[in-house]
Structures are given as C-alpha cells and as structure tokens.
C-alpha cells in the first residue's frame, strides 16, 4: 500500500482560505460599524425627515415606516418602506 503511495503524485494542497476570511470580515465589519457605532444616527435622521414629509400629505402610522441601509462593497442601497393606511383616499383628501 505504502509503496504505491510513494510513487503516486502528491495531492494538491488545499486552496488557501484566509483570503476568503479576510474578505468576509471586511464586508461584515463595514456593515456592523455602521449600525453599532453612531452612524445609525444618519438612518434615524432620514427616517424622521421622510416620515415628516410623507405625514404632511398622508395620515400614517409612524411605526409603519421602515428605513434600511444595505452596505455592499461597491454599491450601497437605501430602502424606504412606507405602509399606507387602507383608507388612503380619505387620508389624501384630508391632507389636501
């Protein structure tokens, strides 16, 4: 058995995994630093101002406004999710 193994070509070394670890950490920490270190103030501010702007025209529940930021390596996106009440027409009429 061992004789054969001696002549067989060596198995290729496993592919390096450290660069993957490094890249995953960089992406993750860029995101986490944003949410855990003060920068979330920006999201709070945006949320307040968007809410105020929409509320001027539509009666809405402040809890139904969700502002989310996704940080990618190349592009970041800002997602604003506003749930409008079912009686929207009346809401608009009142506001205008």
């Amino acid at each position: 058995m061992n004789m054969f193994r001696l002549f067989a070509s060596r198995p290729a070394p496993p592919a390096p995994t450290a660069p993957i670890a490094r890249e995953r950490l960089q992406i993750l920490l860029a995101h986490e630093r944003g949410t855990t270190r003060g920068k979330s103030d920006l999201l709070m501010l945006l949320r307040e101002e968007i809410l105020a702007a929409v509320a001027r025209h539509v009666a809405l529940d402040p809890d139904k406004v969700i502002v989310r930021m996704e940080r990618g390596r190349d592009v970041s996106t800002l997602e604003v999710d506003v749930e409008l009440p079912s009686g929207l027409d009346r809401g608009l009429a009142v506001a205008s």
């Binding site: 390096p16 450290a18 670890a21 950490l25 920490l29 630093r33």
Partner: protein, 270 residues
C-alpha cells in the same frame, strides 16, 4: 502615575487570562508594583493560572461591598514580591458588582500600584463593561480567526464609547495582541495574516504570541508562562509585548520554536 489596563476580547477562550498573568508577571519583574484583577464573577480563573487558588480568602465583591478591606483581599505572589492578585468572586450574584463600587476600588488601587491589570470576562455584559470602564489603556486579545476578529471590532467600538475616558472626550489607548498565531499556516494561506488583522481592526500591534504547547504547560502548574519558562517562544513574545507597553520600540518578530535535528527526525517518523 498608576495606569489601569484592561485585557479584553469579546470572544472567550482567546487567551485573556493567560495574557493577563503573563504580562502582569512580566511587568512585576521590571520592579513595577502590579495588581491583576479578575472581573470574571462566577467563573474566576486568574487565581488558578497564577497558582494562588488555595490562598483566596476575600474577593473583589467583598471589597466592593465593604466586607473586606483591599489589603485583606489582595494576594501577594509567592515568586514575585511586587505582583498581587485581586480574585473574582466564585459564588455571589453578579449584580453585586456596581459601577460605583468598582470605581472606588480602582481609585483606591491607583494610590498603591503602578499598574492595575483588569482581566475581563468574555462577552459584552456587565462584567466586561465594568472591567473596561475605568481603563486608561486596553489590550485587545485577538486570535487569527473570523469570529475573534469580529468580536474584537465590537469591543473596540465599546472602548471608544462606553468608558469613562471616552465619555470625557478622551481616548483609551488601544493595543492589539495577536495570540495563538501559527506563522506556517498563515504563510500557506490557511490563517489570517498579521497584516490582514491589523488592516481590518486598524489598531497598533502590541505583540504576536505564537501558538505553543508551553502555554498549557505553564497553566497546568499554575505559573505565568513568562515565569515558568522564560526562554520559550510565547514567554519571549509576552516579554517583548510588555516592554513595548512600557514604551520601548522593539522589532516585531514572531518568536519561533527551537527546531533541532531531533525534531526533524521526529517529524519524519511520524
């Protein structure tokens, strides 16, 4: 001026207690008067690593609550006469550790010691917060591994916002101590490199402690690795880190294991 150091990491098992004992002993060997304080209420271990487990009478919570006076609770090391241990409580309620009480004890110790080294528990709960709360400097112990690096990043954020220094608009001086490093695996791309970690965490490096069997040997016998076998690679690395802490500039080498002919043969045979 006394200095309060916190040895912290977020993640458990990375070497906080080993590092506290090794650096505390190395500082005391330079003649500085050093107190190492165990903040891991309920799971104390610094006493065991220092070989003082059978000499614990009073603990940090006893002092905080005024049941014991500070000198009664401090245990003087049998090998180094300038090294003292303030053990954590084993049984009592964690809530007994109050910020006001800890602040009082640390302020008291500042008058009697050159260095107060606080061994933080893992996690980001009360014990960890209080261990860093009054720190002037922080040693963030990190393993070259994703979860440890991520947790270190969280801890850095907390050092910058939740400490007394940060609240006064000052900075806790932060150092990274990389432990359990294996240069051969890093060279093969199997382990994050020193450069990777420093680039991600963006904190100056205090030292690189190689993965070594000497660390376990030292804790088995209850001796800081810097005292147990000063010539071994982790002990030399801890000594260098300690000298850097004291302001010396030293080349950042990764001390390696001595590699004799016997060892080479040993490998072959395996």
């Amino acid at each position: 001026m006394a200095k309060v150091l916190v040895v912290t990491s977020g993640k458990g098992g990375v070497g906080k207690t080993t590092s506290t004992a090794a650096i505390g002993a190395a500082l005391a060997q330079t003649g500085k008067k050093v107190a190492v304080v165990d903040f891991d209420v309920g799971l104390r271990n610094l006493d065991l690593v220092l070989g003082a487990e059978r000499r614990v009478v009073f603990d940090l919570i006893n002092v905080v609550q005024g049941i014991a006076k500070l000198p009664q609770a401090l245990i003087r090391d049998k090998r180094l006469e300038t090294l003292y241990l303030l053990p954590a409580s084993q049984t009592r309620d964690k809530e007994a550790l109050t910020e006001e009480g800890v602040g009082r004890v640390i302020a008291d110790m500042r008058n009697n010691f050159d260095f107060i080294v606080c061994d933080s528990p893992a996690g980001i709960e009360r014990g960890a917060m209080l261990a860093m709360r009054f720190a002037d400097e922080a040693i963030i112990v990190t393993n070259p591994e994703v979860s440890s690096v991520r947790d270190s990043d969280r801890i850095i954020g907390m050092l910058d916002s939740k400490t007394v220094k940060a609240e006064k608009g000052e900075q806790v001086e932060k150092h990274i101590l990389i432990t359990r490093f294996d240069p051969a695996r890093a060279a093969r791309g199997e382990m994050l490199t020193i450069e990777d970690i420093l680039e991600i965490l963006a904190i100056p490096l205090l030292g690189i402690i190689p993965e070594s069997q000497d660390v376990l040997r030292a804790s088995n016998v209850g001796s800081p690795v810097t005292l147990n076998n000063p010539a071994c690679s982790p002990a030399r690395a801890y000594s260098d880190a300690t000298r850097r802490l004291l302001g010396e500039t030293l080349p950042m080498l990764v001390p390696s294991e001595p590699r004799g002919l016997m060892k080479l043969f040993g490998r072959r045979a395996a």
